[in-house]
Subunit: 277 residues, 2 copies
């Protein structure tokens, strides 16, 4: 580390093994609030309108292709595909399909990006569902207004049977169809990146107090917010013993984006009370 | 259009049908140089290290999942997958696979992004190819150095049998395995976005002269470079009759990124000679 290095410059370079992490010196103040794989999956899928579809060619070969989607209220993806495209023709022969959606980069490695596979069977919706599907697709993919009613395009709803969420290297879990349909996408997600930047830029002292008092690292010398969600913060903590990734939960689940600031302020306040700062 | 609108503010809003385009008033000066689907595909695939793989589950269902890749000299993707991941287990049961790679956004709609599907059969390389595959993967995905030799990870080379290139809405073509293997990725591609920005920011007058003298739009009032590649420029031309997308070819194929500036200067020089400006 050079004289001008920041406390975070010992982050792992690509291809290097990470240094031994620092372990908590005291138990964290609160056990982490639980985030289910179903919620994580709903959040990733709600955060995009573009995925990659896997369908079957007439020979039964797997076919990967780009597809835009909207979402029904239960999280079912709605596709609008043309029979001029392979995937449109494939679905007419065999409606089995899955779609992979990739979450935003968050400064980690390539394979640290969260992603979700929704697997099931595609159906052409009828009746009221056809209207809902059309509205959901066009709301998510405005340009579809131009072609949604073309004769070669059809709406398909992917009836989700299995859900695979991968949160990054080595972090993964399954969700079932019922759990996925019932789960709620994190309402904080669209604002999370900006909120983390704000904390890092303007409230580094509060993050440090949180790391020292609530996360189990009284010897922390710096802390950076890597991610934020409705349940809490992921911090990268710097100590003389090394760096550590640690989770700090809010006092309660944040119910809307408006509640994010209050929840963060409460954490900082509680941390400062404990440290007497 | 308001007083402060730029000439490009009549671009199509999402979901609106485009206005009737202006047609060339005179034939363009040169027929466009040809770009094959195989070259386009090689260029898209060379421009990323992250794709979505389609494999088959033991039930024969299509499974879409994120995969990082490197490339052998013939453009074959090299994957490094774990048997702890579905796609790793799937390949052991049935090696048929395809990978979809998405090109960069270029300011168009969601489905204007270029993308490629490479379909074929994955094999675990042996002998000298195993070394080449390992080197290619790690060069493209440096973090793989950490896990490439773990016992649960294996290298797979996708032997490409069919190539589907989609250049945007309604622009698509097939390439065969031999054509794909023999084609060269555009060496200009990594610099294209910056070069287009530079032309738009600093050389709007040259772009206008090119549109007027070489692209068939003597009534052009403005021109913006939407894309640039080794064969030429894609311009968005503004005329009193409406807007138009038009292709202008360089005098000859650019053979390296270093040749891009000279080729653009030659175009502008030729245009100004014709207009007498």
């Amino acid at each position: 580390m050079t004289e001008t290095a920041t406390p975070f410059d010992h982050d792992v370079a690509p291809g290097q093994a990470p240094p031994a992490p620092a372990t908590p010196l005291v138990p964290p103040a609160e056990p982490p609030l639980w985030r289910s794989a179903a919620e994580q999956a709903r959040t990733v899928v709600a955060g995009s309108t573009l995925g990659t579809l896997a369908t079957l060619t007439p020979d039964g070969d797997p076919w990967a292709s780009l597809a835009a989607y909207g979402l029904l209220d239960d999280g079912s993806p709605v596709l609008c595909v043309s029979t001029l495209a392979e995937h449109g023709r494939n679905l007419l022969v065999d409606p089995r399909a899955s779609i992979c959606v990739i979450g935003p980069e968050d400064g980690g490695g390539l394979l640290d990006r969260p992603r979700v596979t929704l697997a099931g069977v595609a159906v052409q919706p009828g009746g009221a569902e056809a209207e809902q599907a059309r509205a959901a697709h066009v709301a998510a993919v405005p340009e579809a207004r131009i072609y949604v009613d073309y004769g070669d395009f059809s709406l398909w709803v992917l009836r989700v049977r299995r859900v695979r969420w991968v949160g990054g290297f080595g972090r993964m879990d399954w969700a079932d169809a019922e759990g996925y349909a019932a789960a709620e996408a994190d309402p904080v997600a669209p604002y999370a990146s900006g909120a983390a930047d704000h904390l890092n830029d303007d409230h580094a002292d509060a993050l440090l107090a949180i790391a020292q008092a609530l996360a189990g690292y009284p010897d922390a010398t710096a802390a950076r917010c890597r991610r934020i969600d409705r349940y809490g913060l992921d911090l990268l903590v710097v100590t003389p013993r090394g760096g550590a990734d640690v989770r700090v939960s809010f006092a309660a689940r944040v119910e809307s984006a408006d509640g994010l600031r209050a929840a963060t302020v409460e954490l900082a306040h509680r941390a400062r009370q404990r440290t007497g700062a």
